[in-house]
Assembly symmetry: C2
Homo-oligomer: 331 residues x 2
């Protein structure tokens, strides 16, 4: 019904007919409102996966990459991984009496978030280093899962893993049904994501690319362990994203989705390949159901990448208008 009431003229009708031919009467993206964005997605998937199509992409080349924070789940009021780090500082404080007088830990423990914010990236790096190293990778994984099981988002009063975007879950399922391999390529910590991405997104650990700290191997008297060190290994953000994609995947994506300036190079790199390409950005426009932010935001800023998207004809999702529901629990 919705589709019939939506009109983009002859071209859109043609696309809709082709899409119906490819996907049948079952709408693979029920949480997306009909419109140019949904059409562009369905058209791309149809063109690249239909035998005989001029834009057909061989199955092994069907690589789709997704940013995580702000693209697959919410990133406000602050990246969820930083919320995890803050909770870890609180939990570990009794073992670190020196933190009482040492910023940014002292600010954090006093609830002075403005003080932490004023320290900028330096403060955040110190907090992450202190809470993400000095343990085995197995212990860290357990800590992440324990936290996700109990922590709640202040505004939504729900576990963070419920704050994933239903339309993006449907998009990834559609791509996988059409034999795309879906990858996460995130500035977030790879060790923070892998424990839960398979269950929540259907993306296995070996298809998660992210930032990382140095890990060292220790035979540990016959019980081999991997230890997390307080030293940055790789930052998978901005120009690091094409590097991470190349290093971990070894193929250029044909489909990439992000939401911020940190995704610009991933989309550029995707666009730079031969043949059909899809580049998408999620624009957070819905202050009522989620958050509205772009050029001025310190978290997930969308400024230069937006200009690039407009200039180059990349797809920009208007969250408020393009998404029928935001979260799975709204259904």
């Amino acid at each position: 019904m919705l589709r019939r009431s939506f009109g983009l003229g002859v071209v859109a009708v043609g696309i809709a007919a082709a899409t119906r031919a490819a996907f049948g009467q079952n709408d693979p993206l029920p949480s997306w409102n009909d419109g140019t964005v949904k059409m562009a997605i369905l058209d791309f998937v149809s063109r690249t996966t239909s035998a005989g199509s001029r834009d057909f992409v061989l199955v092994p080349e069907r690589i789709a990459t997704f940013d995580n924070d702000g693209t697959l789940w919410t990133e406000m009021p602050v990246y969820f991984q930083f919320m995890f780090a803050i909770d870890r500082v609180k939990a570990l404080a009794p073992q670190h009496p020196e933190w009482k007088d040492k910023p940014p830990f002292s600010y954090l423990l006093a609830g002075d978030m403005a003080g932490v914010a004023a320290m900028g990236e330096k403060g955040m790096v110190e907090v992450v280093a202190a809470t993400h190293s000095g343990m085995t990778v197995a212990d860290f994984e357990r800590t992440v899962l324990d936290w996700l099981a109990t922590a709640r988002h202040a505004r939504f009063k729900r576990p963070y893993t419920e704050l994933v975007y239903q339309p993006m879950l449907e998009l990834m399922a559609l791509l996988r049904a059409k034999e795309f391999k879906t990858f996460i390529v995130s500035g977030g910590g790879i060790d923070f994501m892998r424990p839960w991405t398979e269950k929540i997104y259907g993306i296995p650990p070996e298809q998660v690319v992210g930032s990382s700290a140095v890990v060292t191997y220790d035979f540990n008297s016959g019980k081999p362990v991997l230890l997390k060190e307080p030293k940055v290994d790789f930052v998978d953000d901005g120009p690091g994203k094409p590097v991470g994609i190349y290093r971990f995947i070894g193929r250029r994506p044909v489909f990439a989705f992000g939401n911020s300036d940190g995704d610009q190079q991933m989309l550029e790199y995707t666009a730079g390949g031969e043949g059909a390409r899809f580049m998408g950005l999620v624009h957070h426009t819905d202050a009522v159901r989620e958050y509205a932010y772009d050029r001025q935001s310190s978290v997930g800023r969308l400024d230069k990448a937006w200009d690039e998207a407009v200039k180059r004809g990349w797809i920009v999702v208007d969250m408020k208008n393009d998404w029928k529901v935001i979260y799975p629990f709204e259904k």
Copy 2:
């Protein structure tokens, strides 16, 4: 016939019966001679993939890792990647007149391999850096493929990619048929392997873990490129192998195969997990059909890892006796 003539007593007969039950009358490893090694492999695959088995492994956890040099293809008289580097030095020499007087390049160009060898790892690193950096990753890939298309192994007079081990191809095919994901985890360069591993081994680029140099992203006036820099990023050898497995795959293998001391930590790490595990080493014992070397070899030394294998009951393949054929072209 062979199987009937092979007797290990009641236990082996039981395994053979179970294996026949799991694999039918079609031998999935026709290039392996019947014996304890073949039995151990078939038994492990059967136990870990048969519904209801005590050792059943869930499909997502079926991770199998293989070293490359000396495990999947020949590594004598010297790692094939080093042969590639030598040929590149010769090809690039006209653009580098300074090499005429600069070891190790001068030794190489004069054919003085003893001189190069006397420089040890330092010489090899210099040769690799000079031939593996200063170009885009796309140009490097083309160079590797061009070289493989024309270069021939001095003893076998065949392309290097024909010097892969038929029994290991069968083993990887068996594992994949049983829903294992097969990965390469090699000390060799990731950029040197990925261009051809899918075609030769059936292992796609995203399942290749290896050593790497730093790669940087350059937007290059609208044509994004990745550039190979003369700086080591990661050495995927020895204790680096568990680190590389953790970083790239994010799961502990249940099945791992190597051939040298550089694989010891990968096997230790594999063995350290819960449940059924398979750890294997290829012992090069066949000077007639391939090469015979172990404790004294500078290439692919098998010394400490062999002792560990004996101590811990890891499987050691006796190439001469366990493999009916070595290379695909012998069939």
